[in-house]
Amino acid sequence: MGLDPVVLFFLLGVAARLLRSDLRLPEAMYEGLSIFLLLAIGLKGGVELARQPLADILPQAGAVVVLGLVLPLLAFPVLKYIGRLDHYNAAAIAAHYGSVSMVTFAVALAFLVDRAIAHEPYLPLFVVLLEVPGIIVGILIARLGGGVRRIAWKSLAHEVLFGRSILLLAGGLLIGWIAGPDALAPQAQLFFDLFKGVLALFMLEMGIVAAGRIRQLRRTGPFLIAFGTLMPMVFALIGGLTGRLIGLSVGGTMLLATLAASASYIAAPAAMRIAVPQANPALSLAAVLGVTFPFNVVLGVSLYYWLALRIHGL
């Protein structure tokens, strides 16, 4: 099969940046593409959700939320005691890894679709469910340990729950669920047929952005590099086992493993800047974008598929 074109686009972006090319996607295009991807994933999931009884999914959904609450609690002590990061930075990075990356999910989804590997079609719902808990736990950790500093909880809950990415994902889910596949057919040519092409374009941009974070890794030292590759693998294992536990297929297990392994670079950074401003965003973004995102899309996705097979004893 070789390298997925989506990964090649990512590498082109990385190369452009490392070669100091003037190639840049206009910021409006970055925003437009990410709005498209969030909506499309939501719609896809919503259309599938419409096909089956919600009650069947509820217990799974509960388990997934618990997963989202547990992951940052595991990451925090590693960051604080092994990585020797200060309290705020450890909490903020834990929040990033507790939350998820929608684009990493999209790459994993494309991996399965290309290979015609079956998977529960309602997994986009889990993206929504996993995005928020990790962030909230991270903020709680930061508060409990940090000095007293009033946090505007109301405005923060807002920021997190009604932030762009949750709103588009959840909104897409709802629209897909209400409208159903037939009513959405006229929109399908835009949102579904063009999905992988748009994802490729976005990966080009992600390559440029990620490569821009690599330099910072030199300053932050080897810990973040190790953390950014090892933690996702551990989280993938936990996510994969959870998937098995709640009865997901191999494909679904792989997707949940990938979600657990992925780290947020949209919702979490925005929330941390407001809720934990003492944390240095250069650190978290170096780890998330400079290490984990590239690792996941280039190697991780195949690895997590292999893992899902093993977990299912195949």
Binding site: E27, P269, A270, R273, I274, P277
Partner: protein, 100 residues
């Protein structure tokens, strides 16, 4: 031309602060503000506006000296430590003193 002396306070900072600062400035007594999307470099490194976490904004507030002082001291206290932020003040003249 009779112009009335006022202060122009310019704040260059992270895009993430847009909504918060907008509210803050009005609460501190500004009658308005103007925002531009910018990019730049400073002690926090390059901020190239390639994507959302990397975007700067530039606030411009016309106000009287008292409000300028309140803005400067409040921002210094609340944001200087934790955010990429640059602030400067210039003397300007306006035509309608009651407006600012």
């Amino acid at each position: 031309m009779t112009t009335y002396p006022r202060k122009l306070v310019v704040i260059i900072t992270e895009g993430a602060l847009e909504a918060i600062l907008a509210r803050e400035l009005m609460a501190l007594g500004a009658h308005g503000y103007t925002i531009a999307d910018v990019r730049g470099r400073g002690s926090h490194g390059a901020r190239e506006a390639a994507w959302e976490a990397d975007r700067n904004i530039r606030f411009e507030v016309i106000c009287d000296e008292a409000v300028a002082e309140k803005i400067a001291s409040t921002l210094r206290e609340k944001y200087y430590d934790d955010y990429a932020m640059t602030l400067f003040v210039a003397d300007i003249g306006v035509l309608r003193p009651q407006k600012f």
